[in-house]
């Protein structure tokens, strides 16, 4: 599977870069945590009310933090004409897409694994036993965000006002993920079971599969313009 092998090569290169310099990782961590504090100051809610809005707040935090990550996603390639060099090599464009989405996915997961428990601590929530289910939903949603976001990040690479344009085009398209993830998490927090959440999970999975496929197929055109 040449595609997967190439993706793995690209991903390991990017991960190595990231783990050495930790630019994106640290900024995303800090921003995610900062948002939790911002939420505390803007919302003066009782603890039980916070539990109701927790999924929404968390997903807002992830959306903005993820967008930060997406904006920096192709930064190494922008320096020194690296992108041109990559495109001249026999690298499959789909492999580039997979590697970059995976990178953003791993970065976001790292942040989420910290931010969600931190939220529970800072806002004094008690149902810690539900966290594994919430993580699962979050991972599915994050996958959808990363695949579509990587396409959008590459699309807006040469645009003016890129930092503004990226959220502008990305967020409306992310509505199925946002809706499904938040409603799913609300259902889990309310009932403690998967019953009400199942059709949302199916929608999330459909979104993930559709845009993963579209991303791999369309990335040739996306990156070469």
């Amino acid at each position: 599977m040449a595609l997967l092998k190439q993706s793995y090569l690209m991903l390991s290169k990017d991960l190595r870069l990231e783990l050495r310099r930790r630019d994106s990782l640290l900024t995303m961590f800090s921003f995610g945590t900062l948002l939790l504090f911002v939420f505390h100051f803007s919302l003066d809610l009782a603890p039980d009310k916070i539990a109701e809005v927790a999924p929404a707040l968390l997903w807002l935090a992830f959306l903005f933090t993820g967008t930060l990550g997406l904006a920096q996603l192709f930064q190494p390639e922008r320096e020194n004409h690296c992108l041109d060099a990559l495109l001249l090599s026999p690298l499959d464009r789909g492999a580039l897409f997979l590697a970059k989405s995976c990178l953003n996915f791993l970065l976001m997961i790292a942040v989420e694994l910290v931010v969600i428990p931190l939220f529970w601590i800072l806002f004094n929530l008690s149902n810690w036993n539900l966290l594994p289910q919430l993580f699962l939903v979050t991972f599915l949603g994050t996958l959808g965000f990363c695949v579509l976001g990587t396409v959008m990040s590459a699309l807006t690479l040469k645009a003016r006002a890129r930092e503004l344009l990226l959220p502008l085009v990305l967020f409306p398209l992310m509505i199925p993920v946002l809706l499904s993830a938040v409603r799913c998490m609300e259902a889990i927090l309310k009932t403690g079971t998967w019953d009400d959440a199942l059709h949302w999970i199916r929608l999330l999975l459909a979104f993930d599969v559709i845009f993963l496929t579209l991303g791999v197929l369309l990335f040739d055109w996306v990156i070469e313009g």
Binding site: L155, T156, R160, P172, I175, I210, L218, V222
Partner: protein, 234 residues
Amino acid sequence: MTPATPLKRRKGILGALAAMALTLALFWSLAVAPPDAFQGEVQRIMYLHLPSILTAYLSYFLVFVGSAMYLWKRERRDDLLAHAAAELGVLFTALTIIEGAIWGKPTWGVWWTWDARLTLTAILLLIYTGYLMLRSLIDDEQRAATAAAILGIIGFFDIPLIHMSVYWWRTLHQPPSILRPDKAPWENVHPAMLTALAISFVAFLLLYFYLLSLRYRVGEMRQEISALKLARGA
């Protein structure tokens, strides 16, 4: 190159037809069709509102077709079509929302509500406004065209998903009275109303294709200007 005279005349005929059809639609909607049993005269906005949104859907479909064809064949005219259709789509969606608000205030009591269909229409407006912004913020013409084409295709695939997610979440909008699954359209609605709606829809289609041809021509002219500038600069 200026368009050949036959083309100008064709556009002119289309425009004249559109104008006549709109006048007929206006007359039929306001004078011939009876007022609604419950809503009274306010209901007549429907003769604008429904054709507006259906024209917008047609427009978005054309954006998808243009985008896909452009990526496949790389012919300028598909890109021009997609761009023109996107602009008109945004226009007609905005009109639909405004008309809906005007209709909603006396009937529902509010200018806006987050009911499924309204939310979906607003999302469509956002997506295609983003499309237009993407185009205008990328300087390289070919890159802009490709990027917009990708967005057009992705948007098209996302819309059913958005539709499902929003519908599962909310519903308040009147269930469709024309296209109900259990009754035939003519059993539900007064025939004169159906006729008014049909005439209105045809009128809007004519208007839409007239505007589309004009906007397409503007796009062609813009390209001619860039080509001339490039040639002059060399």
